[in-house]
Amino acid sequence: MSGTFIGMPAFPKAAHEAVNNATLRGNLRHATHTIRAKRAKAVAEVSDWAELREAGKRIKDHTLRHLDRYLVQLEESVTAAGGVVHWAADAEEANRIVTDLVRATGESEVVKVKSMATQEIGLNEALEAAGIRAYETDLAELIVQLGKDRPSHILVPAIHRNRGEIRDVFVREMGAWGRAAPEGLTDTPAELAEAARLHLREKFLRAKVGVSGANFMVAETGTLVVVESEGNGRMCLTLPETLISVVGIEKVVPAWRDLEVFLQTLPRSSTAERMNPYTSMWTGTTDGDGPRTFHLVLLDNGRTDTLADEVGRQALRCIRCSACLNVCPVYERAGGHAYGSVYPGPIGAILSPQLRGTASEIDASLPYASSLCGACYDVCPVAIDIPEVLVHLRERIAQGGRATRNGDTVVLRPAKGHAAERAAMRAARWAFDRPGALRAGQRLASGTRRFHPRTLPGPGRAWSGTRELPAVPAESFRAWWQRTRGGKDVTE
């Protein structure tokens, strides 16, 4: 996946810099705490939340289990409804397909609906290289694009910016991209939204090509669904003559009826609303209404590799609501940029290393960017057991093993930097197999406990740098049990 932020340091280093930024921490704390309370209230409104969550999980699992069949069915439905379906094995191919489609229209600019898939493949940069300008139209994406910034949240990519910073970006940059910010723009959210409305209006009205992703694709009917708030999605999906949607293959659901689950769980999980302001659904093209040409680009880009992992494949259930980011204590402090991917937070920590592989320093460090507290699993509307996948990925990084890359099985070597951990585990296994040695070792440890250091030397220092070593008791449990016959002879 090419969405990698080049030269990104491993998570601990990036996070270390982020937690020292007081403004960033304040912005994140304010935003995540606001949404957390609201989400809990929105979820409590529906008495069958647990059942909806279970149904969402099962629909996605069933779809993934028969993904080939549903993709073929989707292709047939979309084609029958007047759409054209393309398949892209990786980011490069998807970018090439979209670039060629835009070129064929003769246009040199496109308007974009916020889409994780096109962020992931770096579509804007690829179009730019081909002389095509891509305008982001989601408010937060606009803030990121104008500020030459990186997204730091799935739903609200500019969550790391407060209103004052957003105002400054608008005043400084809007003029270079089109209509300048109004004179005397203040930092009230309503005025900032108005400035974005005026700035983007002219782009919507003249746009000939729209680019989107999709939240869901229905195999049975060929319907695509985009869930949004601002109306920029509706603009991009209905005003242009040509619409190009780039969608990950895991976004398919079998039946029309399945939407009844996700249209209840997604808005409540993401923006904590009963329903988001606008949802658009379209099936191919409609005579006289909306785009005359519709292209659907089905994107793999590491998804089939993820599907091949028996534990990790559950990450493909994700509906990108971002509830896991908002509850995560690590995300709240480190921020989204530290994750080095368009998918930050807990879901990013399991998705990025699977989509991209664990060859880079940042990807190998992501499964460790968690305290395994499990809050992410609790709020996940499709019940992805993120801690389970984190531990699974840690094991594969530390010990190596089989994985799938670009459709081929590869054997990963144990990562460097985990040698001490592996040696400690080997020693423990040896000792636990030998009761005599274990007893001798425990006696030795108890007898010398006055001389134990508070921190570990050598490679253990990284571990004990932020932790107290546990105190060794004067007597081991096994020794106590033998001496007192299980507590029957208590003579102190």
């Binding site: 005003l239 249209l263 609303e273």
Partner: protein
């Protein structure tokens, strides 16, 4: 090998470890005819949340629409033309967009110049129009949502998008359902659908909701009781 075959081949190899559901190989064809699919999904969730009278369901629709800043009005069929005329006048609209199959009575008392929903109009021309009046396909009480399906009294999707003021008429109780599952049962996926819950909004600044971005910033919903 085409990318299509490459991706589908990867999917099949990735799933080599998975037995069929219930140990049986999956049946081909649409999920409707597939018992393994409905068995796998279960669907133990509710079709609607709580039992309500028809009148109470309509009240809930009004409450939830208002909660997300839509302006809700109630009228009888006789009162409707007068109400629509007043809403357009209060807004100061000089033009109003009209879907091809809008019941003529709805605008019979209104002054603004009618702009008809035509394929040849450009978005820029529509941007000069202040208001639009439409019907809807269905309204959902639990979520405060109206759904448009491009029917004759609703027109093309863009006419309810570009003007800043949308008056949407809902026939109650006939067009009102309680829940999202009930709404999907009534809708035809082959039609272009727009689900609207309140005016355009954003949560992009500090994750706090602000009304009014690109879609109509004022949404007025008129609940018309069927005579």
């Amino acid at each position: 090998m085409s990318s299509r075959d490459l991706v589908l081949g990867r999917v099949r190899r990735a799933l080599a470890d998975v037995p069929g559901e219930d140990g049986a190989p999956p049946e081909p064809g649409p999920p409707d005819g597939d018992p393994s699919y409905e068995r796998a999904v279960g669907r133990s969730y509710l079709r609607e949340h709580g039992a309500r009278s028809v009148a109470r369901t309509v009240d809930l629709l009004a409450e939830n629409l208002a909660d997300y800043r839509a302006v809700v009005h109630r009228a009888t069929e006789e009162e409707l033309p007068g109400l629509v005329a007043r809403l357009l006048a209060r807004r100061g609209s000089r033009h109003v967009l009209v879907p091809p199959g809008l019941p003529p009575a709805w605008l019979s008392a209104a002054d603004p110049v009618r702009v008809h929903d035509r394929a040849v109009s450009t978005p820029r021309e529509l941007d000069e129009v202040e208001s639009v009046v439409t019907g809807c396909a269905v309204a959902i009480a639990e979520t405060g949502t109206i759904v448009l399906d491009g029917g004759p009294d609703q027109g093309r999707r863009r006419i309810t998008l570009i003007p800043d003021h949308h008056i949407c008429v809902v026939r109650v109780p006939g067009q009102v359902v309680a829940s999202v599952p009930q709404a999907l049962e009534r809708l035809d996926p082959a039609r272009p659908l727009t689900w609207i819950s309140g005016p355009s909004a954003t949560s992009d600044i500090e994750l706090d909701r602000v009304e009014g971005v690109h879609g109509p910033r004022t949404l007025e919903v008129v609940l018309v009781s069927e005579g």
